[in-house]
């Protein structure tokens, strides 16, 4: 008995001693020590060993940044992050950090990569467990961390930029409120059409087919698929037709008859540069054209001929905010274009759609469905109010705790995976969910997830001094009669002025300092080609002389740069010697002919505008300032700043302003 107790005492003491030794042993065998040994072994035989060894510091390393809430010990194992000479090492954790615009000492690691900065083991630092909510961010979403501080578009982070753009352009924010860290509400830019007068525009059969599968009508359609049953689509189409009221002016009788002259139609479609905004599938199945307006491949199966005529005549009657310009087409032109567009039809689209007249019950049921699915979140529908907070707010989605998420079987239990899967297949998360199926590509889903992950607690709690604010959006509108005209012509769909408008065509903010009056008048009447390589060009609007003068006067007086006095340099009368010097500089020192054409016989460059008649187009003052610093007068232009002396700039101005194009032939067409 006694002997047993002694033995027991011995065993207990032994166990006690062992357990006392655990703490120092754990430290001795810790992962970071193992990696530091590995690092020293790796660098031992390198030619740069001495430098690397001098930089090496043993023990637990820590970056502490109280302002950012960063306590990062990652550099205990990732020892070579700052060693430029480790460029050839591919083994982790010893790789050099790739070049980024920030210093590791100033930002730490977890600000960008997330994970647990204070942890000192691989698993705890990288992976999520119940106690550690923030796993390492997969590399493909890394740009989301840029977005925590950088609130505007950021060069070098295309995925973040695209994701933010998609949130607006696909109308996600119609249903999901997104309050940005700077307090603004993210606005949609997709401008879905009103459905209050839909019966004027299209048939119930088309609405039915569209509701069932929008992409069957147009592969590029951004309208999502609500996976409606036949009956539901029948009732909703019935309601939308019954609810529609007719708009006076939605059907016009033309003096000319709808003509089916495909050749004339095609050439009018081309001349009007419809394809700058609208795309059409060609015979090979490729889309040709822009994406500002809807795809027109099957438009003949959609619209009513009377409506199309009225629309082509003046789209603002049906939709006052449309991006489509009011072309001022003549009746015969409208007839030709109508015939041409109606021929773009697909007999299969509506072949199997046979709908009986809708009953009152069906219409009532359709109305209920239209409210339930939140159609009015995006579309204006008479009699149905736009629902408030129709879908969950996404303002801080990037910090949603994993414990609050419901995952699908087989899914990785991480927030990025949840967001990406939710966008990819929203209905798979349960019965009765309303979020429709979008047709995003894989990269689009990744970029959306990136943008959403940037909306997290850190982005909201950062001290304002550490953030880089977005450029405030401009809601500039031109004033007066000319302003009305410019809106009617939808100038802002392509041109940007004072920060407002599209990016397809040149920024016109300083156009008043740039061009000569006579040229602008001629151009507005009959836009000719300045840049032969562009496929998107300024269309002709059949403007009256009075309208042209109105717009010209407005542009020349209002859009003047404060730094360029348009009358400060003469348009002619430069000494011949200066013109000759300019010519030498043009072809020699600055080799401008690489991108521009002055003499159509010898010059071939066509990146920049053709300059054969530049002396009749631009003001000398503008040319001079442009030579001095092109980016100062038009930010983002591809013309390099050559830091020219005043003498060179003046000589080039003299040479260019002498290019009046008098009598010379245009670029020969092939």
């Amino acid at each position: 008995m006694f002997g047993d107790s002694v033995r027991a005492f011995g065993v207990v003491s032994f166990v006690f001693l062992i357990s006392l030794a655990i703490a120092p042993a754990k430290n001795h065998f810790s992962e970071w020590r193992h990696y530091q040994h590995g690092y020293l072994k790796m660098i031992r035989n390198r030619s740069d060993a001495v430098t690397l060894q001098r930089h090496f510091q043993g023990g637990i390393q820590q970056i502490w940044l109280p302002e950012l809430g960063v306590v990062d010990r990652c550099t205990s194992c990732h020892v070579g992050l700052k060693e430029a000479s480790l460029n050839d090492v591919s083994m982790q954790p010893f790789r050099k950090h790739p070049a980024i615009p920030h210093q590791i000492d100033q930002f730490g690691c977890t600000v960008c990569h997330r994970g647990q900065g204070v942890a000192t083991t691989v698993a705890e630092a990288h992976s999520s467990t119940l106690a550690w909510e923030q796993p390492i961010l997969p590399a493909k979403y890394i740009e989301s961390s840029c977005g925590e501080c950088h609130r505007g578009p950021l060069p070098g982070a295309p995925q973040l930029n695209q994701g933010r753009h998609l949130l607006s352009s696909y109308g996600c924010v119609h249903c999901h409120t997104v309050k940005l860290p700077d307090g603004k509400i993210l606005k949609a830019t997709d401008n879905p059409p009103s459905l209050s007068h839909i019966a004027d525009k299209t048939s119930r059969e088309w609405i039915y087919a569209w509701l069932k599968d929008p992409q069957a009508y147009a592969a590029t359609a951004t309208m999502p698929n609500f996976k409606l049953s036949d009956d539901d689509a029948r009732d909703m189409s019935g309601f939308l037709m019954a609810n529609s009221t007719s708009l006076p002016g939605d059907a016009v009788t033309l003096s000319a008859k709808a003509a089916s002259d495909p050749a004339a139609g095609a050439s009018l479609y081309g001349e009007s540069f419809c394809s700058s905004c609208h795309s059409v599938q060609n015979a090979a199945g490729n889309l040709v054209g822009g994406d500002v307006g809807p795809e027109l491949t099957r438009v003949g199966s959609k619209v009513k001929p009377e409506w199309l005529q009225a629309w082509l005549r003046n789209p603002r009657v049906y939709h006052s905010e449309t991006a489509m310009p009011h072309y001022r087409l003549s009746d015969p032109q409208v007839a030709t274009l109508t015939g041409f567009l109606l021929a773009k039809s697909d007999s299969d689209l509506l072949a199997n759609v046979h709908l009986e007249a809708a009953t009152l019950e069906q219409i009532a049921h359709g109305k209920r469905l239209v409210s339930d699915y939140g159609c009015a979140s995006c579309h204006e529908i008479a009699g149905i109010k736009k629902p408030e907070n129709f879908a969950p707010e996404l303002s801080r989605i990037g910090s949603k705790p994993v414990t609050q998420l419901i995952f699908l079987p087989g899914m990785q239990h991480t927030l990025p995976d949840y967001i990406a899967t939710k966008i990819k297949q929203p209905r798979s998360f349960g019965q009765g969910l309303k979020m429709p199926q979008y047709t995003f590509t894989g990269p689009q889903i990744d970029s959306l997830a990136t943008a959403l992950l940037a909306l997290n607690d850190r982005s909201f709690t950062l001290p304002p001094a550490l953030t880089v604010a977005a450029k405030p959006e401009s809601d500039y509108e031109p004033a007066g009669k000319a302003g009305k005209l410019m809106n009617d012509l939808a100038c802002f769909s392509c041109h940007r002025i004072n920060g407002h408008g599209g990016e397809m065509a040149p920024d016109l903010t300083w156009e008043g300092s740039s061009v000569q009056r006579q040229w602008l008048v001629e151009f507005l009447k009959n836009p000719n080609t300045l840049r032969p390589s562009l496929i998107r060009r300024m269309p002709r609007f059949n403007l009256t002389d009075a309208d042209v003068n109105e717009i010209t006067d407005y542009i020349l007086t209002v859009y003047q740069s404060p730094t360029i006095d348009r009358d400060s340099l003469p348009l002619s009368g430069y000494p011949q010697g200066e013109v000759e010097l300019g010519k030498q500089l043009f072809y020699g020192k600055y080799a401008c002919q690489g991108c521009h054409i002055v003499d159509t016989k010898t010059d071939k460059g066509y990146i920049g505008p053709t300059l054969t008649k530049v002396g009749s187009r631009l003001t000398a003052a503008w040319i001079f300032q442009w030579m001095k610093n092109p980016q100062a007068v038009r930010p983002g232009t591809a013309e390099p700043n050559r830091a020219m002396s005043d003498e060179d700039a003046r000589a080039l101005t003299a040479f260019l302003i002498s290019q009046k194009g008098g009598g010379k032939l245009e670029v020969a067409k092939k």
């Binding site: 047993d4 033995r7 027991a8 065993v11 166990v15 460029n87 050839d88 090492v89 591919s90 790789r95 790739p98 070049a99 980024i100 615009p101 997969p138 590399a139 493909k140 979403y141 890394i142 060069p155 070098g156 982070a157 295309p158 995925q159 040709v288 894989g442 990269p443 990744d446 390589s533 496929i535 020699g588 020192k589 600055y590 080799a591 690489g594 991108c595 071939k604 460059g605 066509y606 990146i607 610093n629 980016q631 983002g636 591809a638 390099p640 700043n641 050559r642 830091a643």
Partner: protein, 244 residues
């Protein structure tokens, strides 16, 4: 008593050992019905993507038999450095002898060497190496600048949206993939040409000076992009990530 405590200690150690070991999920292997002699790339090599992102096009490889005819039913397995993902990881060739997989590149910028392998009749592995390029922050910024300022002249290919100016230039610029020439220039040379224009290195004045338009960081980014996409690869582009 001793034996009991020993058992407890042993059990504890076993538990610790068990919790430390990683579980390896095993995928059900496909059964090949044919064995090829060679494996070739159909498409999808030498693509450019951002780190951690899928390549724009899927990777398609083809298995041929000894006569060089496409072979259906052969098993192809894909592998790459850690961080590279294949969807699917393996597959049987279809009736045209091909297997298609979607590739996601790893988190580090650089070249990724991928392997597609199949077995021949003798059970020997026949492998094909394919390279893809992953762009990090700096190279991505460089690519953006390239698209904005350089590509119109330096890329001879025209697209619907962008007509190339290459053919119009009397002295032809070097496409950035032209490793044979560009790899001979040091970073300092490239930087000087971009900064001060072609004449800085006795080259054509058709290459203008960009030093007043682009920042130092921009030019660095451009150089790193040019290094990243050059073919044959530049030595400055860093390590090749491959399966060890």
């Amino acid at each position: 008593m001793i034996s009991r405590s020993l058992i407890i200690v042993a059990l504890l150690m076993a538990m610790v050992a068990a919790s430390c070991s990683r579980k390896i999920a095993s995928e059900p292997l496909l059964k090949p019905t044919a064995y090829g002699a060679a494996i070739i790339e159909s498409s999808g090599g030498k693509q450019i993507a951002q780190t951690g992102s899928p390549t724009p096009q899927p990777l398609i490889v083809q298995v041929n038999d000894q006569q060089g005819n496409a072979l259906a039913g052969a098993l192809v397995e894909f592998s790459g450095a850690s961080g590279v993902n294949f969807d699917p990881k393996n597959g049987l060739t279809d009736s045209s002898g091909q297997v298609t997989t979607n590739v996601t590149l790893g988190g580090m910028a650089g070249r990724y060497e991928l392997t597609a392998s199949t077995r021949d009749k003798a059970g020997k592995t026949v492998a094909l190496k394919i390279e893809e390029i992953a762009l990090g922050y700096q190279q991505t910024l460089g690519r953006q600048l390239n698209d904005q300022y350089c590509e119109r002249c330096h890329n001879p290919e025209s697209t619907v949206e962008r007509v190339s100016n290459f053919d119009n230039l009397e002295i032809k610029p070097h496409p950035f993939t032209e490793g044979d020439t560009l790899n001979k220039l040091t970073d300092a040379d490239l930087t000087a040409i971009i900064n001060h224009g072609g004449p800085a290195l006795n080259k054509s004045a058709l290459m203008p000076a960009w030093g007043n338009t682009l920042s130092k960081a921009d030019i660095q980014a451009l150089v790193s992009y040019i290094r990243a996409i050059s073919d044959p690869p530049s030595r400055d582009a860093g390590p090749v990530y491959a399966k060890n």
